[in-house]
Symmetry: C2
Subunit: 124 residues, 2 copies
């Protein structure tokens, strides 16, 4: 199985291509066959199949073949994982800013005066 870092690699890499994002948006409206997905796109069906493999490797798309037709649908969990990774970090960032704000807005006499910059800096 894949660990979290590997899954994030695959999810972000999958989303880092306009064609693949277009495929995702199409699939949000409902399942579709490979041909249906390829039809509006300015490339060969073979190329679309390759993009779908990238999305499947990331777990974003699941597909099933019936007869000669493969039907694809979205699997939302990996998208949620990518969204959360960013969201968690953004939250960290924002609460760090709030903490700094607090320090600047209500400086206490008994606390050390505000440092010139932020939290970090390699100590000598």
């Amino acid at each position: 199985m894949l660990n979290e870092e590997e899954r994030l690699d695959l999810v972000f890499r999958a989303l880092a291509d306009r064609t693949r994002r277009t495929l995702v948006e199409r699939l949000l409206r409902g399942p579709a066959t490979v041909s249906e997905l390829a039809a509006p796109l300015p490339m060969t069906l073979a190329a679309v199949v390759q993009h779908l493999k990238v999305l499947e490797a990331a777990g974003i798309v699941r597909s099933e073949k019936v007869g000669r037709v493969r039907t694809c649908r979205i699997e939302p969990a990996p998208l949620r994982e990518g969204e959360s990774w960013i969201g968690d970090r953004r939250t960290t960032w924002e609460s760090r800013l709030d903490a700094l704000d607090g320090l600047l807005a209500a400086p206490r006499r008994d606390a050390p005066a505000a440092a010139p910059d932020t939290t970090e800096g390699t100590s000598p």
Copy 2:
């Protein structure tokens, strides 16, 4: 200037690498110089500089040189843009599922019976 699609390409591509995600996490704790960022990583400083260029191209990191030292910090807006792209799509997906749920849970006699599958499908 970059349009939205190009910005998303750059943001997701920037996040699709474990080393760059590590750099982002380090910078969330506060600004850091190039050497500080490179120190814990198992690669040359030159490689780290190249990763930082990718992050800067995506707008995720901003940096400023004072004397011979370049200090880097996070710029949260592009992260938010990536997060929103995913979030908006996930919301679409979830409300689509809710709508389907509603149809299945409370089928009305005066409405057409539930279709075998979901919304879409190329009509004959």
